[in-house]
């Protein structure tokens, strides 16, 4: 991991990912396979056939090296391996496995190429494959950007295929027959000539040394698991309280801790007084962490109490004190040079000067916390030889690297164990909890320390979805035909901020700033989208769907305004703008069809439409609202998505559902505001989320017209927000351009 950092230092930015600056990492580095990390960890009687397959006397364990944060990815990845390996689903065991370069995420890098999803040109494809190679060179094991399925699709099936062929080769050697004459089924190699069979477990050790011939992956027509809804492998554990999250780790002699750091983020700690805390029951040690204080105790609650009893004198934050001061920065940002000019079709300046008619609008969205159900936590053990970390992380190698740095150790001396994640949403790519736990554990060598944040600390120390401001102008001819569309977005770049923290300092355009706007499947003759990086200084990060979370709202709300100004149906107008994008048109048409768009059936309700293409998945949504005693009730959401191939339909639907509810929560009530340099919201009574009685009915349809496989975890979020705002406009005639909507109108 040390190497990754050195490489990344010389990096610049294409799209939204870091790219190594030099060309020094040539073909040799790329071709050299990473060591199989399982080989170091084998117990007696265990064999590993490749980094993804482990066989012992209990059976086959599939390594699913992506963070399980609710998206069912470990089951999806296991199904891909099982598909080729011919093991019965009920017998499959799985584990996250160690942090290792062998588990790099290619697709995350390919997704950063600054070409639009619908661009299949030679240049775009060449760039995508170049970036994939880079993913391998940087070898970062990370879960995010809705990329895990895309990345795993070939890799995991190949792992299953090569393991199966190795097992056949081992059996063939024993029987002295040709491997190609053998078959596999239910964890056994079978010789059809005489009906003999060998269990995988019996021949695993020999298979580990076998050198099988390469055979092609199975055709889609032969699939048994891929494309089917498979029961999730983690479901039983999660309904019986036996799934181990980071917060549940229990180790021998373990101590408990909590930390309070300066709520004026990045500010110093002038002084603190822990004299009360020291005397409190169960307190073992008070630790000065520089910008905060940790209490190590014998129970989490006692640690909470003690840390809350400390008096602090905090230094100021290096950003404006108030929310108004922050908006000022964004307004001024619009007069800087644009960071992104990723869409500039035709001549907007000329077309607007000639236009007899136009509308303009300004949109704003607030900071948002991720608010994972499981507050941030990590457990660390520091010994003479190194350190171990247990935590729910989206980037275990990054956690290892920064914990090592904090402890003055080599990265190789720190080992991160990834547990289940009680929500991630982009928050758990960060390594802050791991570092805090490591620093505390260093104070009590030989004893594991579990550091847990209070909910208040979790809300106050998020890496927030940034505030954003969008100025939009549209110009029309005398017949109200749309002649030009001009968008300017000003927002702090989460990519700059987060990649810098993760050790990949970057420069260049950041596509995330204008995602959901510049890269949508519509054509307008004169069409300009510019992004401005307005650095406020509040730490910002990747929040489910990143720039699309506000880009989708701005773009789709303004298209609705345009349709209204022209007096045309917003769905019909989208279809015309999408004339050249048949995949998008199909999605929109299907959404109109299943929601009975335009029919009398919906009279008395407000209907709103939006479509956003994000993370490789086209997603159209219709929201239906009504008014109940003066309050808005969200009655139904129809959602149509085209991700290309759907690997697991039931799980895909769960992801869309989850993305919609996450988006609607932000639309209705999500808001972090700053006063005196501190977030004003603390616990769920001030930063709530949608609850059961507010949750709409939902109906889903999925299409598969697209060629590249798309993501699932994030694409449901962006269109949900504008579809709701458009529905409220349709019902009440009020256009709300600033979120959250409960600033303007009450919800049930």
């Amino acid at each position: 991991m040390g190497k990754i950092k050195t490489i990344a230092r010389r990096s610049f930015l294409i799209g939204s990912v870091a790219v190594a600056g030099g060309a020094a990492f040539g073909v040799y580095t790329y071709k050299k396979p990473y060591a199989n990390p399982l080989e170091d960890e084998l117990y007696a009687g265990e064999s590993t056939l490749n980094p993804f397959v482990l066989i012992n006397k209990e059976g086959v364990t599939i390594i699913t090296p992506r963070a399980e944060m609710g998206q069912g990815i470990q089951s999806t990845l296991a199904a891909m391996v099982a598909e080729e390996l011919d093991v019965a689903w009920e017998t499959v065991q799985f584990k996250h496995g160690p942090a290792a370069s062998a588990y790099y995420n290619n697709a995350m890098f390919a997704a950063g190429v600054p070409f639009n999803e619908f661009d299949d040109s030679f240049v775009a494809e060449t760039m995508r494959s170049g970036m994939k190679k880079l993913g391998k060179i940087l070898a970062v094991q990370m879960t995010g950007g809705s990329t895990a399925t895309i990345d795993g699709f070939d890799k995991m099936r190949m792992a299953g295929c090569s393991a199966r062929e190795a097992l056949k080769t081992a059996a063939a050697d024993r029987w002295n027959v040709d491997a190609s004459s053998l078959e596999t089924e239910n964890g056994k190699v079978i010789n059809p000539a005489n009906g003999e069979s060998l269990d995988y477990r019996e021949i695993a050790a020999e298979a580990a040394d076998a050198r099988p011939a390469t055979v092609p992956l199975r055709e889609a027509s032969e699939w048994k698991y891929v494309g089917k809804s498979m029961p999730r492998l983690d479901m039983t554990a999660k309904v019986t309280g036996t799934a181990e999250f980071g917060i549940d780790v229990r180790l021998k002699d373990m101590l408990y801790a909590s930390v309070i750091s300066n709520p004026k983020l990045k500010g110093k700690m002038n002084s603190f007084d822990a004299s009360e805390a020291e005397k409190m029951p169960g307190v073992i040690k008070i630790v000065d962490l520089g910008d905060g204080v940790g209490v190590i105790a014998d129970n989490t609650w006692r640690a909470f109490n003690a840390v809350n009893a400390i008096e602090f004198d905090w230094g100021d934050a290096p950003y404006p004190d108030t929310q108004a001061g922050m908006w000022d920065v964004l307004e001024k940002g619009l007069s800087l040079d644009p960071l992104n000019t990723l869409r500039d079709d035709g001549d907007v300046v000329k077309a607007s000067a000639d236009a007899p008619d136009g509308i303009s609008a300004e949109y704003r969205v607030p900071y948002l916390a991720h608010s994972c159900m499981e507050p941030m936590n990590a457990t660390a053990l520091v010994t003479n030889n190194g350190a171990e970390i247990w935590t729910g992380t989206q980037a275990p190698q990054v956690a290892e690297q920064f914990a090592a740095e904090a402890l003055g150790l080599d990265t190789e001396q720190v080992k991160c164990h990834t547990t289940f994640l009680g929500g991630g949403f982009g928050r758990r790519v960060e390594y802050d909890a791991a570092v805090l736990a490591a620093k505390l554990a260093k104070e009590v060598p030989g004893k594991p320390v579990k550091m847990t944040w209070t909910r208040e600390e979790d809300t106050a120390h998020d890496f927030y979805r940034p505030i954003a401001l969008g100025r939009f102008n549209a110009f029309f001819d005398n017949a109200k035909n749309l002649r030009a569309f001009d968008a300017k977005i000003s927002s702090p770049s989460p990519t700059y901020d987060a990649m810098g923290r993760l050790g990949f300092p970057v420069g260049g355009p950041d596509a995330q700033l204008t995602e959901g706007i510049h890269n949508q499947p519509i054509d307008i003759e004169n069409y300009r989208v510019y992004g401005y990086n307005a650095e406020v200084g509040v730490p910002v990060g990747f929040w489910r769907s990143v720039g699309n979370s506000f880009g989708g709202f701005f773009h789709e709300s303004f298209l609705d305004e345009i349709a209204n100004h022209r007096g045309v149906d917003p769905v019909q107008m989208r279809l015309e703008l999408m004339a050249n994008y048949p995949v998008a048109r199909n999605v929109v048409e299907k959404a109109a069809e299943i929601s009975n768009w335009g029919s009398k059936a919906n009279a008395g309700s407000g209907m709103g439409f939006a479509h956003t293409l994000s993370f490789g998945t086209y997603c159209a949504q219709v929201v239906k609202v009504s008014q109940v005693k003066g309050k808005i009730s969200i009655d139904k959401v129809w959602c149509v998505a085209d991700p290309g191939l759907v690997v697991d339909p039931k799980n895909f639907e769960a992801q869309m559902m989850s993305g919609i509810i996450y988006g609607l929560t932000s639309a209705i009530m999500g808001e972090i505001t700053f006063e005196d340099g501190e977030a004003e919201q603390s616990n769920f009574h001030y930063y709530d989320a949608m609850r059961m009685h507010q949750c709409p009915e939902m109906e889903f349809a999925t299409l598969s017209n697209k060629t590249h496989i798309g993501g699932a975890g994030e694409p449901g979020t962006p269109p949900s927000v504008p579809a709701l705002a458009n529905a409220i406009f349709n019902l009440t005639g009020e256009r709300y351009r600033e979120l959250p909507l409960n600033k303007h109108i009450d919800f049930v």
């Binding site: 029951p281 129970n299 159900m373 769960a654 989850s658 949608m690 059961m692």
Partner: protein, 152 residues
């Protein structure tokens, strides 16, 4: 102090103000019950105290000394799921799963008092349980399936 947890008797000494949640999790190792907020706002810590649902983060141990507690671990086990847990599996409810212990304990208490609840009754009881992953539609469906299983 004494608690009977899932039928097993535990004796221990802690300050009377310590919330039941932290006795369960840190003192006795019942980690199936989760911490989400500590102020009775999210329901992640829901258990049954003498058969009634309670937010264990806001229940002082001194007030429940001697009680019978049921946690998620006592409802059913991976080898022998309770009908409500079967319904959760059938509908593939859990995503990250962190809120689900509390959801299931609240739903179990609901079905104890109202064997076949209406949508409004489900909403009224379950709106105290947050799920950031947005599993509500499936929770609602699973409660109905569980109700049918338990009736039948």
């Amino acid at each position: 102090m004494k608690l009977t947890i899932n039928g097993k008797v535990h004796e221990f000494e802690v300050e009377a103000e310590m919330p039941l949640l932290w006795v369960l999790r840190d003192e006795l190792g019942y980690t199936g019950t989760k911490f989400g907020c500590g102020i009775a706002q999210c329901g992640a810590c829901t258990v049954h105290v003498d058969g009634l649902p309670a937010r264990s983060c806001s229940t002082a141990i001194g007030d429940v000394d001697g009680s019978e507690i049921t946690t998620i671990e006592g409802l059913g086990t991976p080898d022998k799921l309770a009908p409500i847990q079967e319904a959760w599996v059938e509908h593939q409810v859990a995503q990250c799963g962190y809120c689900q212990s509390g959801q299931i304990m609240s739903a179990a208490a609901l079905l104890d008092s109202i064997p076949s609840p209406t949508d409004e009754e489900i909403d009224a009881v379950m709106s105290g349980n947050l799920c950031r992953c947005g599993t509500y539609p499936r929770i609602r469906a699973a409660i109905k399936t569980a109700a049918a299983k338990m009736e039948g």
